[in-house]
């Protein structure tokens, strides 16, 4: 990732003129690999989860076909569990990336007034009340979405593992996770797990839209940033201090 701090790149700018654009390295491979693992896992988990909730049952004879296609509930549940464990493991790598790389730590600054001022500005823009907003590495809304999605995923992991390990209530897994079921009972876990799954699905739908929109509205390479780890900005972003090291230098990959 040997990218110079001031490397000028050409891009299509209205009016055809050229501007000086800078490439900033933000996301570590841990975050990016986690992101795409999460995408695959969430698609699998959501689809299989819906089938587990309401299994296909079309009358006599259909189960033969379903079993031939490996679509029996047994298979679908195993897929669900496998994807769940992969997601849980990947989340640990995400935490490792969070520790080693400043660019993976672009969380909301709840205790700074500036954060909330910027938040209102970005919200105004998203509500179509303002033509544009300041440039950010990660805007306040996007920072809030980290908290939302990781919060939802943590709820899913904990409720899921709690239900899974109850197969053997005297085992180590149940010892570690069965407390999750105590406040609302195991039936409550199923309800929470299911509602939160829909929350994640709706989040993902909105997320995809917002990213595509940001890509064509701002031309900052929003989509490609999750592959290359870099964003291309015309101005020094407002929250550049979040990726400076202790000497004030901008951290490069």
């Amino acid at each position: 990732m040997a990218v110079k701090q001031k490397e000028f790149i050409e891009t299509s700018i209205p009016g055809g003129s050229q501007q000086h654009l800078t490439r900033y390295y933000i996301f570590s491979p841990f975050l990016r690999i986690f992101h795409w693992t999460m995408v695959l896992c969430i698609i699998t988990l959501f689809a299989t989860g819906i089938v587990i909730m309401t299994p296909m049952s079309m009358g006599e004879g259909q189960y033969v076909t379903l079993n031939e296609w490996h679509l029996s509930v047994d298979w679908i549940r195993n897929l669900h569990f496998t994807a769940g464990f992969i997601l849980s493991a990947a989340f640990l790598f995400r935490i490792y990336g969070y520790i080693i790389n400043k660019g993976d730590r672009l969380l909301p600054r709840f205790f700074q007034m500036k954060f909330w001022d910027d938040f209102i500005e970005v919200m105004m823009h998203y509500c179509l009340l303002k033509y544009s907003h300041k440039q950010f590495l990660r805007n306040p809304m996007a920072r809030m979405s980290y908290v939302a999605i990781y919060g939802l995923i943590v709820v899913e992991i904990f409720t899921g593992l709690s239900m899974y390990f109850q197969v053997n209530p005297n085992g180590v897994g149940a010892f570690l996770f069965s407390w999750v079921a105590l406040p609302f009972g195991e039936m409550g876990l199923h309800v929470i797990h299911h509602i939160v799954a829909w929350g994640i699905f709706l989040f993902a739908a909105m997320h995809v839209y917002m990213v595509v929109r940001a890509d064509f509205m701002e031309r900052e390479g929003e989509i490609s940033s999750m592959i290359s780890g870099t964003k291309i900005l015309a101005h020094l972003p407002d929250d550049i201090n979040d990726i400076r090291d202790s000497n004030g230098k901008i951290i490069k990959g």
Binding site: G15, I50, P169, E186, M187, H190, F201, F216, M217
Partner: protein
């Protein structure tokens, strides 16, 4: 406790041989799910004197006692007459009235700190409410008094363990479970509405044998009886795994005995011995008879209604079918995104035009300046 003989004393008095005593102990070892190597310990325990039991009935239907009376291994009569010294039980007692209540006081005094307290039924929390009076006194006071001197407490049935139907919405009598009333004593929860007869006698037989509580899980239920999901021990589980479901109580799947998961069976969330021990000496259990489990050993099972849908509708939330709500929200979101996208595109076009005009102006200004220099 000289008054009460051990099981071995009983055998000797009846002139039965040591051999038949050991045979009975072997049967007991197998029944309690213990390894054959545990036999000497069981024999040793059976040579102990009988423990005194006080059995109280609170806010309940006495269904648990009805169930208890139908235990076949060990026989209820064996438990009551040979394994324990049942000193007070207002349903089974021959005596009644003031004399019987006095006897309770006497037993509690004589065997203070030694007797087992078995409680059936929930407890109305307000003693002035006038609910559930025993001998003219509130049941709450009686159970607190009896619990104070008990060595161990067994909560028989879902009402005593979790509050049960009495504590379900809207709970007009403010019924509480035994666990919510008594905090400083070990309580064995034996939930079920009612519990399986052999589970009820098994728990008390364990205490009579070994003089201590059976191993308990994190809900204080005996592990040997509540250590498995009904779903994982159900004989219809292969139908679940293969995707063979009854969609309706009248369809071919229901007649063929397929899985009742889609008809709201609570087996996947319920811990009980119904799947492996079954009821009435292994005759049947609810799922075998064609009705889904309603989860009667679970906390708040009565509030997890409706029983014929996969997920319950929690109090006041009116969740209905979560998937339908989710699909509707997704549809609304799609419409919203389309509108937002279209407006954003218009906005961007305007913004770009503006920038273009500014650029033009700048260029014109620069040109003017350069002309001025000339």
């Amino acid at each position: 406790m000289e008054k009460y003989d051990s099981i071995w004393d009983m055998y000797q008095k009846k002139g039965m041989s040591r051999r038949s005593f050991i045979k009975a102990c072997s049967a007991m070892t197998a029944l309690l799910g213990l390894a054959p190597a545990m036999l000497p310990k069981v024999v040793k325990a059976a040579e102990k004197r009988l423990p005194v039991v006080i059995w109280l009935h609170g806010h309940e239907c006495t269904g648990c006692s009805e169930s208890f009376l139908r235990s076949s291994a060990p026989m209820t009569s064996d438990v009551i007459l040979n394994m324990i010294a049942l000193e007070y039980d207002d349903t089974l007692g021959a005596a009644s009235g003031e004399f019987f209540e006095d006897h309770l006081q006497e037993v509690m005094k004589t065997y203070k700190g030694q007797y087992i307290l078995a409680v059936e039924g929930a407890i109305p929390a307000d003693p002035s409410g006038g609910f559930c009076m025993v001998g003219g006194k509130p049941f709450l006071n009686q159970v607190k008094e009896a619990a104070a001197g008990a060595a161990a407490i067994i909560a028989y049935g879902t009402c005593a363990a979790w509050g049960g139907i009495q504590a379900a919405r809207p709970n007009p009598a403010h019924a509480l479970s035994l666990n919510e009333i008594i905090g400083n004593k070990p309580i064995i929860n034996v939930p079920g509405c009612p519990p399986i007869p052999e589970v009820m006698t098994g728990v008390i037989a364990h205490y009579a044998m070994f003089g201590n509580l059976p191993p308990l899980d994190n809900k204080n239920c005996p592990k040997q009886f509540y250590g498995n999901r009904i779903h994982d021990t159900c004989y219809r589980r292969p139908f679940f795994d293969a995707g063979m479901y009854a969609n309706d109580f009248n369809d071919a799947g229901a007649r063929a005995g397929w899985c009742l998961y889609k008809l709201g069976c609570r087996g996947p969330e319920t811990y009980a011995s119904c799947g492996n021990m079954r009821w009435w000496n292994g005759l049947s259990y609810p799922i075998q008879s064609g009705h889904g489990c309603i989860g009667c050993t679970s906390k708040n099972f009565w509030d997890n209604d409706p029983f014929y849908r996969r997920l319950p509708e929690f109090a006041g939330l009116g969740l209905g079918n979560i998937d339908k709500i989710g699909a509707a929200v997704t549809g609304a979101l799609a419409v919203g995104i389309t509108a937002h996208l279209a407006t954003s595109a218009v906005q961007k076009k305007k913004r770009d035009q503006k920038e273009l005009e500014e650029e033009k102006k700048k260029a014109e200004a620069a040109e003017r300046r350069s002309r001025g220099k000339d």
